[in-house]
């Protein structure tokens, strides 16, 4: 290993290093089953770092990061998309509450190209006003496409109702007027505050030589210094919710949707794993409780729940997509009655065993392909500890039926709830 790096720790074959010169973190997992590698850079900046007036800025900035940097730009004939797509790479970037990530899945012989491009745009992106104007309308159309979907609109409304002070109040795409009006200077400021090696993790998964790759990372990312400023922390906390909240969205449409949401703790909280098992018992698979009581009865065409672990608090949300003429209240009552049943009666051991088996398979498939591993690690990095990924299954296996009843009582209570209905207007 190069002496430019310090080995930090290892877990389940994944090794963490730190580039001594600028504190860039590096995660590596070798797998030579196919001659492919994924390179991903995760920045600790997402929509939680935004405020009124510049919601959606992290995402708009992510778009501008493809417009050109010192060594990769149209003028030089080295535009980022062209350079990477011409080698058959899968390439993209995504922004979410707690992070922004840029990634390339490449034939292994082109790994240096991906490293070089990500290093260049880490500090040398142009972020020009002449690029922002056409890209703003691109992003606005992305927003408009989302607004076409009743589910997307309801989901945004549920979060905006559940969270009032904390920036999870607004969705990652931002509010339309902010997308349209945020200045290039504000985006550049955002870039200069957060896009530094000491606020990023580079992840390499797949078929690569470890020492050569570390050397390449040092060569390309080593040109950057660590930031001279401290990366700002988000200090806004959501006040305790003191009563149930409701939101109704009425617009043209065909069928209704019911959402039942409850506040959850931060992702690294020790209750997270029991809540995940609870979610599976309620909604995962055709043998889950709510599938049998709602979908099997023809009251909804489908249902699902999510409880993503975030850096700060989250939501435990169940969604049911109603069949025509099904009463919203009836389905909402079924969901809440099932929650009550678990709070009072608990769950059976066989339900827990089934949920653990489902998780075991999900975790095994999350290692199928270099991108899948990088993507799962990316979310763990975002909430503050990449070992959340490597220890997840062991922690899931240690959940007991008692834990599930405890978290159901602790989090699924009326005063922490937000209920959303999409009501179609004919």
């Amino acid at each position: 290993m190069s002496d430019l790096f310090q080995h930090v720790r290892s877990s389940q074959g994944i090794e963490e290093y730190q580039l001594k010169s600028n504190d860039l973190k590096v995660l590596m997992l070798q797998n030579s089953s196919t001659p492919v590698a994924t390179f991903m850079v995760t920045y600790h900046v997402g929509s939680r770092n935004e405020a009124i007036g510049y919601t959606g800025s992290t995402h708009l900035l992510e778009h501008l990061m493809f417009k050109g940097s010192r060594n990769y730009n149209k003028e030089k004939g080295t535009a980022i998309w062209d350079e990477l797509q011409s080698i058959g790479a899968q390439i993209n970037a995504t922004t979410w509450n707690d992070r922004t990530n840029y990634f390339e899945v490449v034939p292994k012989e082109h790994l240096e190209k991906a490293i070089s491009i990500e290093a260049d745009r880490m500090r040398f992106s142009f972020i020009k006003d002449e690029d922002r104007q056409p890209e703003m309308t691109v992003v606005r159309n992305e927003y408009e496409r989302g607004e076409n979907s009743p589910f997307d609109v309801l989901d945004k409304n549920v979060w905006a109702t559940a969270y009032q002070a904390h920036p999870y109040h607004h969705s990652t795409i931002g509010w339309r007027s902010d997308i349209e009006n945020v200045s290039t200077e504000r985006l550049k400021e955002f870039y200069d505050v957060y896009y530094w090696p000491n606020n990023a993790t580079a992840t390499v998964i797949g078929d690569f030589d470890k020492d050569e790759t570390l050397a390449l990372i040092a060569k390309h990312f080593g040109v950057h210094k660590r930031s001279e400023h401290t990366i700002p922390k988000v200090y806004t906390e959501e006040p305790i919710q003191e009563g149930p909240r409701r939101v109704v969205v009425r617009r043209s449409g065909q069928t209704g949707i019911v959402a039942v949401a409850h506040k959850t703790p931060e992702g690294l909280n020790s209750d997270t794993h029991a809540l995940h098992i609870l979610g599976r018992i309620l909604c995962d698979g055709k043998s889950s409780r709510l599938h049998r009581k709602i979908v099997d009865q023809g009251l909804a065409s489908s249902l699902f729940m999510y409880d993503f672990p975030f850096k700060d608090n989250g939501l435990f949300i169940t969604y049911a997509f109603l069949t025509p003429n099904t009463d919203h209240q009836k389905v909402e009552d079924i969901i809440l009655n099932e929650y009550t049943s678990i709070k009072t009666e608990g769950v059976e051991q066989k339900e827990l065993d089934r949920a653990i088996a489902q998780t075991k398979a999900t975790v095994a498939f999350s290692r199928d392909g270099s991108y899948a591993v990088a993507s799962a690690l990316n979310e763990a990095i975002a909430i503050g500890d990449w070992q959340f990924y490597t220890t997840y299954l062991d922690k899931i296996k240690s959940v007991t039926v008692k834990d599930i009843k405890k978290v159901a009582k602790k989090y699924l209570h009326d005063d922490a709830s937000t209920t959303g209905w999409f009501v179609p207007k004919q």
């Binding site: 797998n31 030579s32 089953s33 196919t34 001659p35 492919v36 998309w81 062209d82 797509q85 011409s86 080698i87 058959g88 790479a89 899968q90 390439i91 899945v105 490449v106 034939p107 056409p134 703003m136 309308t137 691109v138 606005r140 159309n141 408009e144 496409r145 607004e147 076409n148 009743p150 797949g206 043209s252 449409g253 065909q254 069928t255 698979g285 055709k286 043998s287 889950s288 599938h291 099997d296 023809g298 909804a300 065409s301 489908s302 997509f321 069949t323 025509p324 066989k350 065993d353 089934r354 088996a357 075991k360 398979a361 999900t362 095994a364 498939f365 290692r367 199928d368 392909g369 899948a372």
Partner: protein
């Protein structure tokens, strides 16, 4: 290592072939298979019979209730799914390697001994109709249905029914029709099964033989009698859907070519250069330079199994700038048609294709898809070995000739859906 070295091919019985590729992935297997018998095969009576014959397979077998099935799968974290496409009944399974035998036994039972319970059919219909009702507000689906409906007469395999007709077809299906179709279609003759992952090929193949060999021979017709596509005409179709902030646009036409034709790869590459990825012309101009859309691209569809299909460009635009977006799109299509592609574009896209092929094999599902699609088209595994050769053999002149021969910008069908101004 070539494809033919990685994949073990077993021609087991008359009409049952397996393709198995052990890889270094740890502890998981992806399996995917199909047999002929998709919606087109049921079209003379009601194409949705084929579709529901597949959707009902997880609703109970003669021996097991739907809850027994879901319990059996959920308790090991496995899944089995059935999707009926235009031509095939497809099934996929994901599971841990240790559970593969259980999954194969269950899959085999679901395929061979469905219960087809009438109460379950009633519930399923209700759910399907809810999804269909919901799709009436989906701008992309509506624009596409209207677009395709202009290209083909309803008896053509690539035709699409409108939503109300589809609802009526679903509503009219009986259990007897499903049983009858199952008896004809679900049999040996055209079954291909591909499996990739942490798997022992010989034991898996033997298990498949044991489980599938009792099936009777399928008796669906392999004859394709259908009308030609509609005459190409210049046409503009609008579909108004209220309260939508983005409109969907489809532009294109039918093309007299299928994927066995000698010009197919040339035309495919030409259309890819127009709109196959972000660095293709449409995204570079209509999105990147002009900022008119979040996404726009082009491709070919319906060109398999000896059937001629169509080419299309799809994009989304705010209602306020839809006209501008349509004009910008057509301008790019005209320019592409008139000037053709450049040598530089071709060379860049050749490396794109070859690299993307390599990258697509990084997951078990990507690998399985490649094997199964190839097998469904009746091609040997060696055909995949020669993918790069076929791409390398393409030249600018042939591509521009194909564009000129198969595309006619003067008779494009345009379909838009959304809250049009």
């Amino acid at each position: 290592m070539s494809f033919s070295e990685k994949v073990l091919v077993f021609e087991n019985l008359d009409g049952l072939s397996t393709y198995i590729a052990p890889t270094q992935v740890d502890g998981v297997v992806t399996l995917s298979g199909s047999l002929k018998g998709g919606e087109f095969h049921a079209k003379k009576s009601n194409s949705k019979i084929a579709s529901l014959s597949g959707s009902m397979l997880d609703k109970g077998t003669v021996k097991k209730s739907k809850h027994d099935i879901s319990e059996a799968l959920d308790s090991i974290g496995a899944d089995i799914n059935f999707i009926v496409s235009n031509h095939h009944i497809n099934f996929t399974a994901h599971c841990l390697s240790n559970d593969l035998e259980k999954v194969i036994l269950l899959l085999s039972e679901m395929l061979q001994e469905p219960r087809y319970d009438s109460d379950e059919l009633t519930i399923l219909k209700k759910r399907i109709i809810a999804n269909l009702e919901r799709s009436k507000e989906d701008t992309r689906k509506q624009a596409n249905i209207n677009f395709v409906s202009q290209l083909y007469p309803i008896a053509h395999p690539n035709a699409r029914y409108n939503i109300d007709d589809t609802i009526s077809m679903v509503d009219n299906i009986s259990v007897e029709q499903l049983k009858d179709y199952h008896q004809k279609a679900y049999g040996l003759g055209t079954i291909n099964i591909a499996a990739v992952g942490d798997v022992d090929p010989d034991s898996l193949n033997q298990l498949i033989i044991n489980e599938f060999s009792p099936m009777a021979k399928q008796s669906i017709s392999n004859e394709y009698n259908f009308p030609a596509p509609n005459k190409r005409v210049h046409k503009f179709i609008e579909c108004i859907i209220k309260d939508k902030t983005s409109c969907d646009l489809f532009v294109g036409q039918s093309i007299d070519i299928n994927d066995n034709h000698k010009d197919y790869y040339s035309l495919m590459m030409g259309i890819y250069i127009l709109g196959g990825n972000f660095s293709a012309r449409l995204m570079q101009t209509v999105r990147d330079e002009q900022g008119l859309t979040y996404g726009i691209g082009s491709g070919m569809a319906g060109c398999s199994y000896g059937i001629s299909g169509h080419w299309y460009t799809w994009g989304t635009f705010s209602p306020d700038i839809l006209d501008k977006g349509c004009d910008a799109t057509v301008e790019q299509i005209n320019s592409w048609f008139e000037t053709g592609i450049t040598e530089e574009e071709l060379q860049a896209k050749k490396t794109t294709f070859k690299g993307a092929f390599q990258v697509s094999l990084d997951t078990t599902s990507g690998f399985v898809d490649k094997i199964l699609t190839n097998a469904e088209k009746g091609r040997s595994i060696e055909y995949l070995d020669k993918y790069n050769e076929r791409i390398d053999a393409l030249d600018k002149q042939s591509i521009n000739k194909a564009i000129n021969q198969y595309i006619d910008p003067k008779s494009l069908t345009t379909s838009v859906a959304g809250s049009l101004k």
